[in-house]
Symmetry: C3
Amino acid sequence: MSSPVKARADVDLNLLREVRQEVEEFNLEYCRVLDEGRIEEWPNFFTEDPLYRITGRENFDGGFPLGVMYCDSIGMMKDRAYAIAKTLVFSPRYLRHYITNTRIVSVDEDGSIESEANYLVLQTQLGEPTIIFQAGRYVDRFVRSSRNGLLLKERHCVYDSTIIDTDLVFPV
Amino acid sequence: MSSPVKARADVDLNLLREVRQEVEEFNLEYCRVLDEGRIEEWPNFFTEDPLYRITGRENFDGGFPLGVMYCDSIGMMKDRAYAIAKTLVFSPRYLRHYITNTRIVSVDEDGSIESEANYLVLQTQLGEPTIIFQAGRYVDRFVRSSRNGLLLKERHCVYDSTIIDTDLVFPV
Amino acid sequence: MSSPVKARADVDLNLLREVRQEVEEFNLEYCRVLDEGRIEEWPNFFTEDPLYRITGRENFDGGFPLGVMYCDSIGMMKDRAYAIAKTLVFSPRYLRHYITNTRIVSVDEDGSIESEANYLVLQTQLGEPTIIFQAGRYVDRFVRSSRNGLLLKERHCVYDSTIIDTDLVFPV
């Protein structure tokens, strides 16, 4: 029986830790933008040719491309952000992101990174109790840009939650 | 469009990481005291002239000084801690703090630090399910004391939750 | 009045931070195995003579050995894992672990480590909202194995939750 922890001993531990810290710092800023409702800045965290989707765990595990939210270009992301900020009508709500268990899966020689993290997003609407909005994990691929540091090439938000609010999908 | 992540590249990254670790360590101990119900030790984490308050997000964003709990002296904090420990009558409950997304906003030359972190506090009362007690973020100013390491000069606990238990306010 | 934070200044801070990072990395992998339902790998994280239990806060504080789940040998853990994986019939569910506030209590010269962390485990069953399954803290003792890195000698999962699902106990 091999230990999953032991399996990491042959990679460069210092590099993994450095990269984990970078990814944590990235997610700090990413979540802050969403928590503060600055939705129009959300596309800034992605490359020009990103894949972003929110999808259920069974879809993800089954390899299906479906998602309750699906953007495969930066234009789609900007449109979505603009719609949420400017045109959609919905009751005001606060979101709050808690990111834990950030885990680096691989670091390639070209600087790209595969990583995962658990997310918990809570939602508060006026006069209502704070509820669990979505629980899941990020499955990410980052690339390193000389101008902008880490950027997301892919973010799959894979939720456990089987009941989610599909009227209005905020990015997670 | 500038990336919020990129914006940090011109500060000393190593210093930020060192300070972030210190703040995380501080909050570990702070939360442990509250989680263990050692409320009388809570004022120890503050300077002699602190500001501590728990306030709603709208109040905070609007710049209003209000708060469901407000202490602007160490004496007020000690009185509050004493009252909770010794004189108030309330049903027993457990609190548990989860601190994530610790973010350093600035580090001044005199050693003072502005930082934020997301908090989630769960509450369990006897025979009842564990519930979300309060979700929000700490907005903090720390100073560095030669004798005691970091101390809180200001802690604003800014909650998203719009329904909170105002009968009895524990510090967060 | 001494600050609990200050009290750590006389131990080797770099060692504490190094060990804290190792324990966080261990828990990443531990939780991943449970989140992914790979229950049969769960015993791999323990020594050959482990103590694992899930117990209420009052039992723990009172020094009682009871627990809703109690394993004091690796054989018992493997049996439990096998039963969950192969023989028990229960409705499918997803668990998700959020580990925060990892705190190193002591590091002995022989490499053994006492530590604690807050855990939040959410559960999602098909067609039901995601709920708080269990909130509590790990009280751990690790030993260092030359072959496998850190291994758990003891893990006490001390839950705050007073209502827990005792029909079927998954490890936490």
